[in-house]
């Protein structure tokens, strides 16, 4: 093979070639972020728009059921203590996810598996809580068809649940890969990417929990003539923001 004709001047020298490259050593210019990880960030950006549209719709419609007068209404159904617990469970799963990745990066495969399993279990617990909540609400008359609160509530929280469900499926698949020896310190990136997704889904839940659960609770309290709680202030700050 002939030699490459390569005339470089000073200007060419500062390209970000080399170093971070993982594709056969050709020395591409790039961001230094691994392809799959960059792709996950892009997907999350896109998913922000997805949840953004769902949440915006929920917020636009959130008083419509009351205006039309077709119940059940949010403040009659929402059980803050119960959902707080399941929210805490989901947030804890982010902690265990970090611990799992940290262990893998340090080469402690056993701990990584344990924390990975814990993450999947916590995620499943959250889903169980959501299933219980949906069943409860359904018993109290809230349906997809019955009123607009039902339509928006089940659609928004349901799509979040689907995200958690796919995440659990992913974590379990990774656990199997790990048990067969496929997850090692060198390819911790595989786990890190799943982690990115998992944390994102948790963050979305924080937004949903605030807007869907805390907000009507705070509003109802305000109507009762009680002095405003901290939650109330927070809720109003969020409302002003939107």
């Amino acid at each position: 093979m002939a030699q490459a004709v390569e005339v470089q001047t000073g200007a060419a020298g500062h390209g970000h070639d080399d170093a971070h490259d993982a594709h056969g050593g050709h020395g591409h210019s790039g961001t230094g972020i691994e392809n799959r990880k960059l792709m996950m960030w892009l997907f999350l950006a896109s998913d922000c728009m997805f949840f953004g549209s769902l949440i915006a719709t929920y917020m636009i419609y959130r008083n419509r059921a009351v205006e039309i007068g077709v119940g059940p209404f949010p403040h009659e159904l929402i059980d803050i203590p119960f959902t707080s617990v399941s929210a805490a469970v989901l947030l804890m799963s982010s902690l265990t996810m970090v611990l799992s990745l940290g262990s893998l990066q340090k080469g402690n495969i056993r701990n990584s598996r344990i924390w990975l399993a814990a993450t999947a279990i916590l995620g499943t617990t959250f889903l169980g809580g959501q299933f219980f909540e949906f069943t409860e609400f359904h018993h109290e008359g809230l349906t997809l068809q019955g009123n607009i609160f039902g339509s928006t509530f089940f659609t928004l929280t349901g799509f979040h649940g689907v995200h958690v469900g796919l995440g659990v499926l992913w974590l379990v698949s990774l656990l199997f890969v790990s048990l067969r020896g496929g997850l090692k310190q060198e390819n911790a990136m595989t786990l890190e990417i799943a982690g990115l997704y998992w944390h994102f889904v948790d963050i979305v839940w924080i937004v949903i929990f605030t807007l869907v659960y805390l907000l009507p609770y705070a509003s109802a309290e305000g109507e009762g003539g009680e002095h405003a709680s901290r939650v109330h202030d927070l809720a109003h700050a969020v409302m002003r923001f939107f």
Binding site: M1, S53, Y61, I148, S151
Partner: protein
């Protein structure tokens, strides 16, 4: 200043491409391919097929309108025709044609071996095919979508539209959206991570820039329509109330969500064409693009502003003067970066040594016709004028000047320009010039009189009109123009076929163009570049050939590039894969299952889950898992 590392410039022997890889034969090779060039060709061929389908639909529409009170097509079929014409042209013709060029040309332009995730790329293609099939199967069950490509809310209500027509549209567009988004993720990662050494962002060809920016638009805009379609799907299949007025829902929610997607979509269709034009203009003006940096910034500005103008599609919905004024103003600001682009092209052509080849003629056609469409666009940013033109043929004239006069002219220019690179043969120039003039005349005869018809009050979407309206003359001209345009498209196909067989064979760089795709053979070997090119300037091939002087002489053939028999042996190629096709068929079956729920497994409310959907879901999961655990042949590829 510097240059490109060429594959074996001094090697004596002629092309021995495709060495070292085990070849599958024929059909199997195509359906399992993960090569961006083959996928690009498949995108192009499929999109041209759908272009012909959409064109046929347009000709039927025009034949119906050739005279007043025509009874050729009834109102039901007419509604189906204009809906499917719009949907087909946007999602199955123009967008995939741009994706065809992204696939084939962009990785070559940045000196990459392939896109970042070759199998995902194949998956995007197969999903696009499945979306096209789903949408068009509706013709054969007798209920093609009939609500317009914009699918405004009350028109899609189950009460007014009880057949499966809208559901075909829902499923088809969902699949098409997933396809587009996956493709866009792939292109962004490819451009950001896989550029040749030395190719900094501000040395990327403008076509690559527009690919990047358009892909970002795609991933940010498509979620909005996905959500809108999910609401529509739930309203129709599950009985939810998102667009149901009686329950407190709001049909305008659809319009907002749809246009938050729909306006960026307009730029998704035109920005890649701006990129193509920005490649062709410098090549045939024999000088580097005037105002490269400004061109890049203008592209970014258009994309950014494009998200802040959606409600100008809704001036007549009663949003109130404040919203109307704000959206009118933001819309007008978009004319600034767009105007900048047009002046940059003119600045490149001015003082250049212009060669009037077919691609250049289509490009000049694009610049001038797009400008007409752009000007009528700015007119509509003025609310009172928009209220007057709303839903009239003036609007049809406007968006065909930007979509056909802009996008299609540019895409045809791109086809003539890159055809020698893709096939190793020139398109026939003589036929090409006839092709251009027929297209140009046919296009203007078709769409210019629509301005008059619109101003005279002819509404869009009506399947007929009365004799007393006085619209007969211009409608006859328009229809006649449409036939010329149709013939021009057939001539284009003929030229492609003829040139494939007997076009003049060419070397690596027949146009003496400056960008990297012309540094490898025509057609490029499967591995693209035997050795990694290294880039040190914006116009690497010119810099190498003509030094860095300001004067670039015209009419000098670029040196032939020859490859040794063992060239590319050390380039690792990813294995072909069935999984993308398996996954895409799974999604197709799943979608069809929702449309034909004959064998119902269980019911979720009124939503029937059919056996076909279950089989489809299982196939999809099988495809994804098979894919995840399949060895790629190259580390780091997916």
């Amino acid at each position: 200043m510097a240059s490109v590392a060429q594959p074996g410039l001094s090697a004596p022997t002629v092309s021995g491409a495709h060495t070292g890889t085990k070849k599958r034969s024929g059909l199997l090779d195509w359906i399992t391919t993960v090569d961006h060039k083959k996928i690009g060709i498949m995108y192009g061929v499929t999109a041209i097929f759908f272009l012909m389908v959409g064109g046929l639909e347009a000709l039927l529409i025009r034949t119906q309108l050739i005279t007043s009170g025509n009874g050729l097509i009834n109102e039901k079929t007419y509604n189906e025709l204009f809906t499917m014409h719009g949907t087909t042209m946007i999602f199955l013709a123009v967008m995939p044609l741009t994706v065809a060029f992204w696939n084939y040309i962009m990785p070559l332009q940045i000196g990459a071996r392939d896109v970042a995730m070759p199998r995902l790329n194949a998956f995007s293609y197969w999903l696009f095919v499945m979306a096209g099939l789903t949408l068009n199967i509706s013709w054969f069950v007798g209920h093609a979508p009939n609500q317009g490509w914009y699918a405004y809310a009350p028109l899609t209500d189950l009460a007014w539209n009880p057949t499966r027509a809208v559901d075909f549209w829902i499923v088809g567009l969902t699949i098409s959206g997933i396809s587009s988004m996956l493709g866009a993720f792939n292109f962004i990662v490819t451009i950001l991570n896989m550029r040749a050494p030395g190719m900094t962002l501000m040395r990327m060809p403008v076509f690559t820039w527009t690919t990047l920016i358009t892909s970002i638009l795609l991933i940010m805009a498509f979620p909005a329509i996905t959500v809108a379609i999910i609401f529509l799907m739930f309203d129709r299949w599950l009985g939810t109330n998102f667009y149901a007025v009686a329950a407190g829902g709001d049909p305008l929610l659809w319009q907002h969500l749809f246009w938050i997607f729909g306006h960026p979509e307009v730029y998704i269709m035109i920005l890649p064409v701006f990129g193509i034009v920005s490649e062709i203009v410098p090549t045939f003006s024999r000088k580097p693009l005037f105002g490269y940096s400004i061109m890049v910034y203008a592209t970014c500005a258009i994309a950014f502003l494009g998200f802040g103008v959606w409600a100008h599609h809704m001036f007549t919905t009663g949003m109130g003067p404040t919203a109307n004024a704000v959206f009118g103003a933001t819309t007008m600001t978009i004319a600034i970066p767009t105007g900048v682009k047009i002046f940059n092209w003119l600045g490149t052509i001015a003082l250049g040594q212009v060669r009037f080849t077919t691609p250049m003629m289509f490009t000049i056609g694009m610049i001038s016709m797009f400008t007409i469409g752009g000007i009528s666009g700015v007119m509509h940013a003025t609310v009172p004028i928009d209220s007057h033109h709303n839903d009239s043929y003036f609007l049809i004239a406007h968006f065909h000047y930007v979509l056909f006069g802009g996008s299609m002219f540019g895409l045809i220019a791109g086809l003539y320009y890159w055809f020698p690179k893709i096939t190793g043969r020139m398109m026939d120039e003589k036929l090409g010039k006839i092709n251009f003039w027929m297209t140009f005349v046919g296009f203007n005869a078709t769409f210019f009189p629509m301005h008059f018809l619109g101003l005279e009050g002819m509404p869009r979407r009506y399947y007929t009109y009365g004799e007393g309206a006085g619209w007969n003359f211009w409608n006859a001209i328009v229809t006649f123009g449409a036939y010329i345009l149709g013939a021009a498209m057939l001539l284009l196909l003929f030229n492609v076929g003829q040139s494939l067989k007997s076009g003049k064979r060419v070397g690596a760089n027949p146009w003496d163009a400056p960008t990297l795709e012309w540094a490898t053979t025509s057609p490029p070997p499967e591995y693209n570049f035997a050795e990694q090119p290294i880039v040190a300037s914006r116009d690497p091939l010119w810099a190498e050939k003509y030094g860095h002087g300001d004067d670039i002489p015209a009419h000098i053939e670029s040196p032939e590039i020859v490859l040794g028999p063992n060239a590319g042996d050390d380039v690792h190629l990813p294995n072909p894969s069935f999984w993308p096709l398996v996954g895409a068929s799974g999604m197709f079956m799943m979608g069809l299952g929702f449309l034909f729920e004959n064998i119902t497994i269980f019911w979720l409310g009124p939503l029937a889950i059919s056996a076909l959907s279950i089989v489809g879901l299982i196939t999809l999961m099988w495809g994804i898992f098979g894919w995840a655990f399949e060895p790629t042949g190259v580390e780091g590829l997916h």
